[in-house]
């Protein structure tokens, strides 16, 4: 039995920390966002691909991309639409700013309630800027939903039960979970499909009101092509509690930031003797560098 699914993909715009140049960090030891291009968090792309596959397998399903960030994070929704998502929501409000994982999951969970009747919430395991892997599980907790982490592939959905292969230490395991549920996807899952030419042509000017310039040359199109107007939600729009959002909703306090520079130049000289080679292998195993 195939059922039309309502799927929400959680996605985050992050600085591209994979291609770190010399300007990547400020002298204070924080991320220099200006020097790093903003990209779609890689594991969220893996999650989007899983969602799009479900949409193909279950006719009538819809995929929406939910993101929180400054107005320019509207790009994340466009990137979703370019690949086959049907809609998206940008949570943007000064009151959302400065959120830690708790405040972020509160905001997302509140928005998901507002969206309503969601069958699957799916996101990446973690974002490459914070690497916490906390947001997905916290969203599940706040919504009171079952969750599957480290998902690699959603094998099938039948009778309202999803069968999912998880990536675990030393292998994989297959689990079943009743819908609705929250799934976080591992980077070892299938890569996301490329942007589609027709969809890019259709949605290239899609934007949130806050992203637009006062003298927008395409202003007339926003009136005639409604699909170019992306959803933009404030705290009030999702009936959120301002105290649980952004900085005021974030118990995490950064005490100090240490700028770590790898300077060790320690070296060892080994001979070709069996004893030395064996010693090295043992050491590498103990340090978990190999094995």
């Amino acid at each position: 039995m195939t059922k039309a699914l309502k799927i929400v993909v959680l996605a985050k715009q992050v600085p591209d920390t994979r291609n770190v140049g010399k300007d990547a960090m400020t002298p204070e030891g924080t991320v220099n966002r200006a020097a790093l291009p903003a990209i779609f968090n890689p594991e969220d792309l893996n999650a989007l691909e899983q969602a799009l596959r479900l949409k193909e397998q279950h006719p009538g399903s819809t995929v929406g991309v939910l993101t929180m960030g400054p107005p320019r994070a509207g790009e994340i929704i466009r990137q979703g639409l370019f690949r086959g998502a049907d809609t998206g929501w940008l949570l943007t409000d000064r009151l959302f700013a400065g959120a830690d994982t708790l405040a972020t999951s509160y905001a997302l969970a509140t928005a998901i309630k507002k969206i309503g009747d969601v069958d699957i919430v799916i996101g990446g395991r973690q974002a490459i800027d914070g690497d916490t892997a906390q947001v997905g599980p916290q969203v599940a907790q706040k919504l009171g939903l079952n969750q599957v982490t480290y998902a690699e592939e959603i094998l099938k959905i039948e009778n309202n039960i999803a069968t999912i292969r998880r990536h675990i230490d030393g292998g994989v395991e297959t689990v079943e979970v009743p819908l609705p549920c929250v799934i976080t996807v591992n980077g070892s899952a299938a890569p996301c499909r490329p942007c589609n030419a027709k969809l890019v042509m259709k949605y290239k000017y899609a934007s949130c009101p806050l992203e637009r310039q006062p003298e927008d040359p395409r202003a007339d199109l926003y009136a005639s092509r409604d699909y170019l107007n992306l959803n933009q939600w404030s705290v009030a729009d999702v009936d959120g509690d301002p105290n649980q959002c952004g900085l005021s909703g974030s118990p995490t306090k950064v005490k100090t930031v240490q700028n770590i520079v790898f300077q060790a130049k320690e070296s060892k000289t080994l001979t070709a003797s069996d004893a030395d080679v064996e010693g090295l292998i043992k050491e590498l195993l103990e340090e978990k560098i190999i094995g």
Binding site: R193, P194, C195, N196, A197, K198, L199, V200, M201, K202, K204, L221, R225, Y227
Partner: protein, 575 residues
């Protein structure tokens, strides 16, 4: 992330040519689709933005999926299973990526599900696919067969087949047979009309069919019993869903391993006539070939660029005699010539593509309404230019691709001969470019009448009137001298009044034509974008000078009696 479009400003430059305005205007019919199709542009800038976006997507797919798959595809290749061709596993991945990217039926009108892109943009996509994997470019660019079905098929056939191609079904053109290669007039595959089935039945064998197990075939077959020449041949559409065609053999080739070259057997294969009978070769296949030739020109530029990139990377890293080898004159001479050939060849490619775009668009408009007298004149002018430029673009670029692949190996030294390096694959892949879709020798045959009737000469003289920047004036004067030598050479050959002498010297005249035409084009480019083309303009014009002067002397000193030395063996064989 690597991207074959964003990483190549020279390619981007050709998108912004002034003729694009006219092309967009014609292609979009004053933006008539804008209220019907969500992806249709609303104005010129919007259309150009769409083109850039599609180029960007293709640049991404080619650099991050197709190129990384290319080595595996080369090693695995396709195989035969129970009369069916099975692609290499990574080829299937490539096809899927192109489907997800929506890169099929790109030239087709939106009403059939296409992207309505001009041939110029299609050629740019094609170039990038070829840079990533020349063999895959064959499979991908065969989608342009649909242009011929669109042009000559009826509305029912268009409705039936074009949406399928837009959705990712592949195509092939089944022309060659064991005894009909360059000489397609000898095609024997038999088409008989069956009253019982209400369609034609095809019987016989085709050989060397690229992507021969495709979903939709255009087949050249003899429908007129008792005929022996091209006028007895018609074009048919064979749909794989009908059955009746099997793959008997897949060729083991020197290169383009990923591109399956099939021998096909037709046993009462049901087929539809496309267009009218008897026009198969003389009209439809000629159209098919012209677009395929442009495709090979794009493939050649793409591979040539890749060969250059590989050579440049190696020469910049490899050290000998305590120096990077790129610092040696012998090496940078090769590298800069490679670059100049790509730049000049690309300029010729996209100039040709623009000419094709304009006349094809006008021809298409003519299917909807009569053309105005101005439009008719415009159509005629560009159709003639396209006919003249296509054999130059195909022949010159395919030879350049081979030269560049050869030089790339030279620059790699011994490593270039080792299978681990990519340049050996480029060298193997390039070899077919100057053979299929008409050998270089046949491009010469197609071009010679434009040489002797002065078509090229007139264009050259017009182009010499173009304003070039001050520092390029000396180069322009050099080209002016070359044009004079060229004119003398043509007059000399014509004056000999001997067909065999003309045929014999034709290749020299052809090369001179290409050298001069591309010199003029790159001077123009260097005037508009000096930062991109000044070096190549200098290198290219000097190389052209070297070649044209040598050839003009050869032609001038050639006398009819010289033929004796060349045709001695031919005479022996004939006797």
């Amino acid at each position: 992330m690597a991207n074959y479009y964003n990483d190549n400003p020279n390619l981007q430059f050709y998108l912004d040519h002034p003729l694009m305005k006219r092309i967009v205007e014609l292609k979009e019919r004053n933006f008539a689709d804008k209220d019907t199709y969500e992806d249709a542009p609303v104005d010129y800038e919007d259309a150009m933005e769409n083109y850039r976006r599609v180029l960007d997507i293709t640049g991404d797919i080619t650099a991050n999926i197709i190129e990384p798959n290319s080595e595996s595809v080369d090693l695995e290749g396709p195989h035969l299973e129970n009369g069916r061709m099975i692609y290499a596993s990574k080829t299937v991945e490539n096809l899927d990526a192109c489907t997800k990217g929506g890169l099929w039926g790109v030239s087709m009108p939106r009403r059939y599900g296409g992207l309505n892109l001009p041939i110029t943009v299609f050629s740019m996509l094609s170039e990038m696919v070829a840079s990533a994997d020349a063999g895959f470019q064959n499979i991908w660019s065969l989608q342009s067969c649909i242009d011929t079905l669109y042009e000559f098929g009826n509305e029912e056939q268009r409705m039936k087949y074009i949406p399928r191609v837009c959705a990712g079904e592949t195509m092939s053109m089944d022309l060659t047979e064991p005894d009909a290669g360059s000489d397609l007039q000898s095609v024997m595959l038999k088409a008989t009309y069956s009253e019982k089935d209400g369609c034609y039945l095809l019987n016989g064998v085709k050989r060397f069919i690229t992507n021969g197990d495709s979903n939709i075939h255009l087949v050249l077959a003899r429908s007129e019993e008792g005929t022996k020449d091209g006028r007895g041949l018609s074009m048919f559409i064979y749909d794989k869903r009908q059955g009746g065609v099997n793959v008997r053999h897949i060729e083991h080739k020197l290169g383009i391993h990923g591109s399956p070259t099939c021998e096909l057997t037709y046993k009462n294969a049901k087929a539809e006539l496309c267009g009218e009978t008897r026009l198969g070769l003389i009209k439809y296949v000629m159209a098919l070939m012209n677009s395929a030739r442009l495709g090979i020109a794009a493939q050649s530029v793409g591979l040539g660029q890749e060969a250059y990139n590989e050579a440049l990377k190696y020469a910049s890293e490899r050290q000998q005699f305590h120096k990077r080898i790129i610092e040696f004159p012998a090496v940078y001479d090769m590298l800069s010539r490679m670059k100049a050939k790509i730049d000049a060849g690309r300029s010729l490619l996209y100039m040709t593509a623009r000419y094709v775009d304009i006349y094809k668009c006008l021809e298409d408009i003519q299917r909807e309404r009569p053309l105005t007298p101005e439009e008719r004149a415009e159509c005629k002018k560009y159709s003639r230019l396209a006919d003249a430029f296509t054999p130059l673009a195909k022949g010159m670029n395919s030879e350049y691709a081979n030269q560049n692949a050869y030089d790339a190996i030279s620059i790699h030294g011994g490593s270039g001969f080792i299978m681990e390096y990519k340049c050996q694959r480029l060298y193997r892949d390039a070899r077919i470019f100057s053979i299929y879709e008409g050998t270089t020798q046949l491009q010469v045959v197609a071009a010679i009448r434009y040489i002797t009737n002065g078509t090229y000469l007139t264009i050259m003289k017009e182009m010499l009137e173009n304003e070039v920047s001050e520092d390029l004036k000396p180069l322009q004067n050099t080209v002016r001298t070359l044009v004079e030598l060229y004119e003398q050479s043509i007059n000399y050959v014509k004056g000999a009044n001997n067909q065999e002498v003309q045929d014999f010297l034709a290749r020299r005249l052809y090369d001179m034509t290409g050298d001069i035409m591309m010199s003029l084009l790159i001077l123009d480019d260097a005037t508009h974008a000096p930062h991109l083309f000044t070096q190549s303009a200098n290198v290219y014009v000097h190389a052209a000078e070297e070649d044209v002067i040598g050839k003009s002397i050869y032609v001038k000193n050639f006398i009819e009696e010289d033929l004796v030395n060349f045709r001695a063996k031919a005479k022996e064989v004939a006797e």
